[in-house]
């Protein structure tokens, strides 16, 4: 499984460590909330809303250099919008693993 990296964040921070810390803190705060919202919507069979959460999460995958996870999220978002929730278990495993790694950044 891919591991998050800070390459993009460091690139746009351009040496601004305060920004780096603040952005990481925002990601650490938003990621579990979006993960929880995703689970809630899946449990309620509100797949369109679940797709909205995947949309938000996939941007974070990009920021953290998680290229293949991003590609999985793009596919899942499309599937959910087509009312297909068959890939969610795999995605949930990724989210939980990533959340631990993100909290340690």
């Amino acid at each position: 499984m891919e591991e998050p990296n800070l390459n993009y964040i460091k690139e746009i921070a351009d040496g601004n460590e305060t920004f780096e810390r603040e952005l990481i803190a925002i990601i650490q705060s938003e990621f579990p909330m979006e993960r929880d919202a995703f689970v809630k919507y899946i449990e309620a069979s509100q797949l369109e809303h679940a797709a909205e959460m995947v949309h938000k999460l996939k941007h974070k995958f990009n920021i953290l250099g998680l290229t293949s996870t991003y590609e999985s999220a793009v596919s899942l978002e499309e599937e959910l919008r087509a009312n297909n929730a068959s890939s969610i278990d795999f995605f949930l495993t990724i989210l939980d693993s990533l959340n631990s790694q993100i909290q340690e950044l």
């Binding site: 920004f19 909205e52 941007h59 990009n62």
Partner: protein
């Protein structure tokens, strides 16, 4: 160049703020909004030159946002999806389309484009223009704010325009000035008088008090005047 950010994700707003800080042509953003409706309220009160706008927001898309604005400023779209690029071409105010994650180099190019495009925000505000009346006085065109006019009185070949702050004697006919005034505000109550109905103090029989002027109301015009009043 002054800008605002409209994006429902805190992560995106923080990144855009940083990209703006790193760009020499942009001032720090005036405001950041997680909610498009709040941004619209802000833009109704204050003009900005550039908006960094997320397309994909819950309940209210970036395109809905643009459609709501009467006079949209320059807009750089930011999105995680490439699929909206064609839609973006439908809007003259959209100067560029940035796909997240946005690099500084790509961001700077978009800002450069925005600087080169003539500003839609410098077009005259249509609403304020509608309130302007220019009259020729001593070969000068003097601007009068129409809602400030409370009375117009015929004086031979001239009309006397009375406003909250000053009076003007202008060479014009009552018919011509009547055509220039919004009919929802102004009413001809007598062949020699047009009044701003919002400035009425009181009405007595066949006269109306406007500020300190008592103006006759002709029998033919009285029904229309009474129809306009919010009578208890």
């Amino acid at each position: 160049m002054h800008s605002i950010i409209v994006d429902d994700e805190g992560t995106s707003r923080a990144i855009l703020s940083q990209l703006i800080d790193n760009n020499a042509s942009l001032d720090p953003p005036i405001a950041s909004f997680s909610n498009a409706i709040e941004a619209i309220k802000f833009l109704n009160k204050q003009s900005v030159e550039l908006v960094f706008l997320d397309i994909h927001m819950p309940g209210f898309s970036g395109f809905d946002f643009i459609d709501t604005l009467q006079n949209p400023p320059k807009i750089i779209l930011t999105t995680s999806d490439k699929g909206f690029a064609l839609d973006a071409f439908e809007y003259d105010c959209i100067v560029d389309y940035l796909v997240k994650p946005i690099t500084q180099e790509r961001f700077d190019r978009a800002v450069q484009k925005a600087l080169q495009v003539s500003s839609p925000s410098v077009q005259p505000d249509q609403n304020s223009q509608k309130n302007d009346l220019y009259v020729n006085i001593d070969r000068r065109l003097v601007k009068i704010n129409i809602p400030d006019i409370f009375l117009i009185e015929a004086k031979g070949d001239y009309i006397h325009i009375k406003t909250e702050t000053e009076n003007h004697l202008v060479h014009a006919t009552m018919k011509k000035i009547e055509e220039k005034l919004p009919s929802n505000l102004f009413l001809k109550v007598h062949r020699s008088y047009i009044i701003n109905t919002t400035k009425i103090v009181d009405i007595e029989d066949n006269s109306v008090l406007i500020k300190q002027d008592i103006i006759p109301v002709s029998r033919a015009n009285r029904p229309e005047l009474m129809r306009r009043l919010n009578l208890l």
